[in-house]
């Protein structure tokens, strides 16, 4: 009974469970620390279970439609609506399910990691509420099939994220980071909404499937496309709109930074969804594909070259986030540039997209892991400055192991997961344009170089006097890092299984615009 209810209403519960959790957390916080921590664990675990259930359903039976407020949620069109969906619809296809699963895994990890409070004793309830709201925002963004709904969830994730970034006021510097993030996010959100209004005025609908079916690709649609893509690419941290990213990522608490990576990738999902599903083949795909590729190449080069200079470990990792985002933009951009050519799509376009999407989930895992290790180091050593750190390998052996796994994965060293996805990107991009593949490889080498620096500076060398009392971090933090490290290793050793199970259906869902429209509008 409850199982059936759960499985029918999984898309709604995916949003409802963390939202209930977020607003009930202050109440539980009044009862004490232990009930609240158990509540956080319960909510994040339930969210993970729901998204796993939903993903299993999507991968076995195809896209799941959830119409809010309808008698039968699986039916998007009611008989007297004149053939258009009138309600807000969640359209969960393989791509959405994949993103939702990834977000809920990182949400669970961030929840576990945040349980030990460290120096911060007060205000923890608000922190957890905002963490769950951020999860709501991300899950809503990746599941919704409605443009205005997407905007609302985008704003929820931006506001919750900005408040979390500024949470440790830190002499005002964290607030500065939060202010920059909130300001740019709001501006991008408003411009996104303006583009929604442009489309709504022409096509009388907010549903992505309906607009995609009616799309004319006139002048206003082109302007709307430019507004959509630049706003979302800015939120994803593409160069030259990346400036906020190192500021924000370096000042947020580490669990939040790991989660903000996923939030940025939800924006990246927005870029892909708009380009492939909303516009699709009516798009001038070669131009837009090259626009995305150029953003990707710039992100890779500028991100990694700026990272080498950094002396703050989290700032360095934030620049690497920019450079890794470049790989995803490159892979999927190549797929978009050859979208209309079935022969090239078959020969390398689809592989490039699979590589880009595989890199997306890999990045969420190892980048999250690296930010969590940086947080563990800050938790014990109290600084992010690479010049002051040193010799921690003697006392924080497990953290060091997790850092090595994350660093090797991000640098693309076999057998970790970064290597598999980068290999897919290199080989398919080489067939498209050899120069791009060479740039990608050079960036990978520079990534390794800068992580050698970080590893040397933090863990190597003799024990230093000021860190004599440092010992390993509490068990929940180790467990959170352990989950991500395990996933990094597993996805590295069994890449083909992951690609077959999740990535290929996701890439197929992006390319196949017709099935997305048909899942809402019927037919096919």
């Amino acid at each position: 009974m409850i199982g059936e209810f759960w499985s029918i209403n999984a898309p709604a519960l995916l949003i409802a469970i963390p939202m209930l959790g977020a607003f009930a957390t202050p109440l539980l916080g009044k009862m004490g620390k232990t009930p609240r921590n158990l509540w956080i664990l319960l909510i994040t675990a339930l969210t993970f279970a729901t998204s796993a259930l939903l993903a299993a359903e999507v991968y076995t039976t195809g896209p799941v439609i959830y119409t809010f407020g309808a008698v039968d949620p699986a039916v998007a069109l009611v008989s007297d609506s004149g053939g258009i969906p009138v309600r807000i619809i969640f359209n969960v296809d393989a791509m959405s399910a994949f993103m939702a699963l990834m977000a809920s895994v990182v949400g669970l990890v961030a929840g576990i990691y945040s349980l030990p409070s460290g120096k911060m004793k007060s205000g923890r309830d608000g922190y957890f509420s905002l963490l769950l709201l951020l999860l709501v925002g991300i899950l809503g963004m990746v599941c919704t099939g409605d443009l205005f709904n997407f905007f609302v969830f985008l704003e929820i994730s931006s506001l919750a994220g900005a408040a979390l970034v500024a949470y440790r006021i830190d002499k005002g510097v964290a607030v500065e980071a939060g202010l920059k993030y909130a300001f740019l996010s709001s501006l991008a959100g408003l411009i996104f909404l303006y583009a929604v209004a442009l489309l709504y005025g022409q096509y009388d609908s907010l549903n992505i499937a309906v607009i995609a079916e009616r799309m004319q690709f006139g002048f206003l649609d082109k302007v709307a496309l430019a507004l959509f893509l630049t706003g979302l690419a800015m939120k994803a941290g593409a160069v030259p709109m990346h400036f906020w990213m190192p500021d924000t990522y370096s000042m947020a608490p580490s669990a939040i930074t790991a989660f903000l990576v996923v939030s940025s990738q939800a924006s990246l999902y927005g870029v892909f969804r708009i380009a492939f599903t909303l516009y699709g083949l009516r798009l001038n795909y070669v131009t837009v594909g090259w626009f995305i590729i150029i953003l990707g190449v710039l992100s890779m080069l500028v991100g990694v070259s700026m990272a080498i200079l950094q002396e703050n470990v989290k700032r360095l990792m934030a620049y690497h986030s920019i450079s890794q985002t470049g790989y995803m933009l490159l892979g999927v951009g190549v797929g978009l540039a050859v979208l209309g050519d079935p022969a090239m799509m078959e020969s390398f376009g689809l592989t490039a997209m699979e590589g880009g999407l595989f890199h997306l989930v890999n990045n969420a895992m190892y980048k999250g892991l690296l930010f969590l290790t940086a947080g563990a180091i800050f938790f014990r050593a109290g600084t992010h400055n690479l010049n002051k750190l040193g010799g921690l390998g003697h006392s924080m052996k497990l953290t060091m192991l997790f850092f090595i796994i994350g660093a090797l994965a991000i640098a693309g060293i076999p057998p970790f997961n970064g290597f598999s996805s980068k290999l897919m990107i290199y080989e398919s991009v080489f067939a498209f344009n050899p120069l791009l593949a060479i740039i990608a490889m050079v960036v990978s080498i520079l990534t390794l170089a800068s992580f050698v620096k970080v590893f040397h500076a933090i863990f190597m060398g003799p024990k230093r006097g000021e860190y004599a009392g440092v010992n390993e971090v509490p068990v929940p933090m180790l467990a959170a890092m352990g989950i991500l490290a395990l996933l990094t290793v597993l996805m590295g050793i069994f890449p083909q299984q992951f690609v077959d199970l999740m990535i290929r259906p996701a890439a197929g869902a992006l390319v196949n615009q017709g099935s997305y429209i048909a899942s809402v509008m019927g037919g096919l």
Binding site: F148, V152, E155, L159, A162, A163, A166, I169, K171, G172, V173, V175, E176, A177, G178, L179, K180, A182, F183, S186, L187, G189, L190, I191, L193, Y194, V196, A197, Y200, G201, L206, P246, D247, S250, M251, L309, Q310
Partner: protein, 114 residues
């Protein structure tokens, strides 16, 4: 021309807002610019749902069945609520910045750079 006036006004409002954001150095004035952009977007939304001679979309005792589109108004209303939350958050950030940095000038707010 006259029918397009609301859309043109919305565009002008958005441009005024963006110009305010990039030319003013006081953080509070920048947030004001953001609020003007938001007003422009709201006007755009409401204008898309307007129809000549339409009544408010309330069916009880409606004078005619010709009504303006309620969806666009619902969207504008939602955006106003979101805008209030955003503005409140931004202003509270600026409050803390002013207390800690002793200035609300955007050029002084650059301890994170490089």
């Amino acid at each position: 021309m006259f029918a397009n006036l609301p859309f043109i006004t919305a565009g002008i409002l958005i441009i005024i807002g963006i110009v305010t954001i990039v030319t003013q150095h006081n953080l509070i004035k920048m947030v004001m610019g953001l609020a003007v952009v938001e007003a422009g977007v709201n006007l755009m939304l409401v204008a898309t749902g307007y129809r000549e001679g339409g009544a408010a979309p309330i069916f009880t005792n409606a004078p005619s069945t010709e009504m303006v589109m309620p969806t666009a108004q619902a969207m504008a209303l939602t955006n106003i609520v979101i805008g209030i939350a955003t503005t409140a958050l931004l202003l509270s950030f600026i409050l803390i910045i002013f207390r800690k940095y002793g200035s609300a000038d955007v050029r002084d707010m650059r301890r994170l750079k490089g």
